[in-house]
């Protein structure tokens, strides 16, 4: 009985975190981006600095009419937002936030995480294909191309950490982590983070969305709640990417003074801020630049990191 209760509590906590953190990140994006542009951002909703802006947005989305194009593949069209969103929820289950604080500790945790995150991109491809819209289809194709390009450096960088730790369990990796892993795995960390950004289709890697040329890409035909789910998936993706980077490269709960979970949360939020910061600072990459960065830049770097990890590991 207690085991069931234990699992139930963990899952409830994970769902709550899954629903709350993306809102926090979204609000942070609103405000940080506004101030980086010398604006104030939302100031009215909720009275105090617009803290309830995203809730108000959600209410608005719920009230909107759910429009499905006549030519759309209705079933796939309706399923796409769920496919985009749910994988991030599942990934969250295996991410440890503190010693013993995790949903499930899988032996093949890292493998599981990378596999499931790849599924998230399928949501965009499905949406693009099912919308019966040329812009959506283009966006879907771009998303697919991006997935193919960036999955490789992502996996290579992650495997470098797995090599260093000698385990695929996320919990095990954090336990093995030492501070000097920071410089040792720095290249891998950067590659992982950048590739993850591209996989999330966040600016400056948002070629699939590129509203200036293909409107909103795969999400062109989506309205109301379905569109809100896509947006939620984007911010949940930021949370998951930040959490994974934290766990793999920044030592998870390791840190002085503060308790472990707080450290994890701080690192996650700091990385989320970097995601926003990068978005505000850089212009969107062209499609060919996007591909070039992956194949000419990130893949060799990831291989270099892999070699470095191997050499150091052997000498130790």
């Amino acid at each position: 009985m207690s085991e069931v209760l234990d699992v139930a509590v963990r899952l409830v906590v994970i769902v709550v975190v899954f629903l709350a953190l993306p809102l926090v990140v979204g609000q942070m994006e609103h405000k940080a981006m506004a101030h980086m542009q010398s604006r104030l951002g939302p100031m009215y909703a909720g009275r105090f600095h617009g803290w309830a802006q995203l809730i108000a947005d959600g209410v608005k989305f719920v009230q909107k009419e759910d429009v499905i194009p006549a030519a759309a593949d209705r079933r796939v069209f309706a399923l796409a937002p769920a496919v985009a969103l749910v994988p991030y929820l599942i990934v969250l289950v295996v991410i440890p936030v503190g010693p013993g604080l995790f949903g499930v500790d899988l032996d093949a945790g890292l493998f599981f995480v990378l596999a499931v995150m790849g599924v998230g991109v399928l949501g965009a491809i499905m949406a693009g294909w099912a919308s019966a819209n040329k812009y959506s289809a283009l966006g879907g194709m771009r998303a697919a191309a991006q997935l193919v390009s960036y999955e490789l450096p992502l996996v290579l960088a992650a495997s470098s950490v797995a090599m260093a730790a000698g385990t695929l369990s996320l919990h095990g990796i954090v336990e093995q982590w030492r501070w000097w892993w920071l410089p040792w795995q720095a290249i891998g960390g950067v590659v992982f983070f950048v590739a993850g950004l591209a996989e999330l289709r966040r600016p400056p890697f948002d070629m699939p969305i590129a509203e200036s040329e293909i409107i909103m890409g795969p999400m062109t035909e989506y309205t109301g709640l379905r569109f809100a789910l896509f947006m939620l998936a984007e911010y949940a993706g930021i949370v998951v990417l930040s959490a994974l980077t934290t766990v793999l490269f920044l030592g998870g709960w390791h840190g002085p003074l503060l308790p472990g979970p707080v450290w994890t949360l701080l690192k996650v939020l700091a990385l989320a801020f970097v995601v926003i910061w990068v978005r505000v600072s850089y212009p969107r990459l062209r499609e060919d630049q996007l591909q070039k960065l992956a194949w000419v830049g990130l893949v060799p770097l990831a291989l270099l990191q892999l070699a470095l990890t191997g050499v150091v590991k052997l000498t130790l």
Binding site: S38, W277, S281
Partner: protein
């Protein structure tokens, strides 16, 4: 130079981060009213009392959005001179649905009746409601902010210049001389002068004004040149003169200044505000005949002045005549019509203790200047009473042709009598 890879990326991040920690430029308008600088082109305020219905604004308006109606009123001259006519403003309206906010009307108004007020929240649901009648235009006056300080040595801003102008009276006097010259009829001039002085000359109104300026200007330059001394005066006045502000000094100063000063020039027929105006005007203008009366008058003006400069009051008493003459009366006594020669005396008149220096300078060395100033400005002593500097209230600015308050008329009457 080898560039560090990623240098540009780091710079980009630095830029955005710097902006984030900087204060944002957003103005939270509905909650926080923007702090607009003086003379912001929000709405045009009308100081009705200053309007002489000269129609310059309406004529200059590119959109023809200013509507002015007026009628003439004839005022009997108290002493039995010829009756004076003056314009009374019946309607002054600006149609802000036509107005393009060029500000030409504000610039062109010779009597400082129009000002920019930084209010902009007067949108209406019906375009016809954008026609602001004079009472509504008058309401904006309260929101006219004081002008920003100018550079040292620059001409005073319009608002301040208006405030510090000499009383019309003086103008009247000055004008008197001017007229006499122009007219050539000394007798007449005298008479006219008297009325002006006494009465008010309120009537002198527009025509006078127009005439005066020209005369004043013309005279002024010459005088200025003649009176190199003037400048000293100006200096004096800046310091001491101000307070004393005595009419003469100020006027003189302004005159010298040049183009800017034009605005400060008072029309000959303009009435002095209060007492000061009467005294001086009476004395100076009707030199010979009125002189005697003038003396009495002078005292009156002084009283009015006292508020400004106690010294002035003093002079008024003893020098009463002198003081009156000081500016104008003095001249009268001297018998000098123009008052240039007189000025010295007038200066001495010492209406203003503070100004004495200036006055003295004016009188002695500065006679010419002073006279010039006076004649040109016409403000002379009389005008002085206004505390120049701070234009607290735009409403306090008197147009040259406006009628004196109550005080003035009586004084005049006395003078005339």
């Amino acid at each position: 130079m080898a560039r560090i890879p990623g240098e540009g990326l780091a710079k980009g991040l630095a830029v955005t981060f710097k902006h984030m920690v900087r204060k944002s430029v957003t103005q939270q308008y509905p909650e926080v009213h923007p702090d607009l600088p003086p003379r912001s082109r929000g709405v045009i305020a009308l100081v009705e009392e200053n309007c002489t219905v000269c129609m310059l604004c309406a004529r200059e308006c590119p959109d023809w959005c200013i509507y002015i109606d007026s009628h003439k009123e004839t005022l009997p001259a108290p002493e039995g001179g010829r009756p004076r006519a003056r314009n009374v403003l019946d309607r002054f309206a600006i149609d802000f649905s036509l107005c393009m906010y060029c500000g030409i009307c504000v610039e062109v108004c010779p009597f400082d009746a129009l000002f920019w007020a930084p209010e902009f929240e007067y949108a209406e649901y019906d375009i016809r409601d954008l026609l602001h009648e004079k009472d509504r235009l008058g309401e904006w006056v309260e929101s006219v902010p004081p002008p920003p300080p100018h550079e040292v040595g620059a001409e005073p801003p319009k608002e301040a210049a208006a405030a510090s102008r000499p009383a019309r009276r003086t103008d009247g006097e000055a004008a008197g001389p001017g007229r006499s010259r122009a007219e050539g009829g000394s007798g007449r001039s005298d008479e006219t002068a008297r009325p002006g002085a006494a009465a008010g000359v309120s009537g002198s109104g527009p025509a006078d004004v127009a005439a005066t300026p020209g005369a004043a200007e013309a005279g002024a330059p010459a005088e200025t040149s003649a009176a190199g001394t003037r400048e000293p005066d100006a200096e004096g006045r800046t310091g001491a003169g101000r307070p004393g502000a005595d009419r003469g000094t100020r006027a003189r100063r302004e005159a010298p200044r040049g183009p800017a000063a034009i605005r400060a020039i008072r029309p000959p027929g303009a009435l002095p505000k209060r007492p000061s105006a009467p005294g001086p005007s009476g004395t100076p203008e009707s030199p010979e005949a009125s002189r005697p009366p003038g003396a009495p008058e002078t005292p009156r003006p002084e009283p009015s002045r006292p508020p400004e400069s106690p010294g002035a009051a003093g002079p008024a008493e003893s020098p009463g005549p002198d003081s009156a003459g000081g500016g104008s009366a003095g001249r009268a006594s001297t018998g000098e019509p123009t008052g240039h020669g007189e000025p010295p005396r007038g200066g001495p008149s010492g209406p203003e203790s503070t100004d004495r220096e200036s006055a003295g300078s004016g009188s002695a060395g500065g006679p010419a200047p002073s006279t010039g100033a006076e004649s040109s400005a016409g403000r002379e002593a009389p005008a002085r009473r206004e505390p120049p500097r701070a234009l607290r209230n735009v409403r306090s600015i008197r147009p040259p042709g406006s009628l004196p308050k109550k005080d003035a008329p009586p004084d005049r009457g006395g003078d005339d009598a």
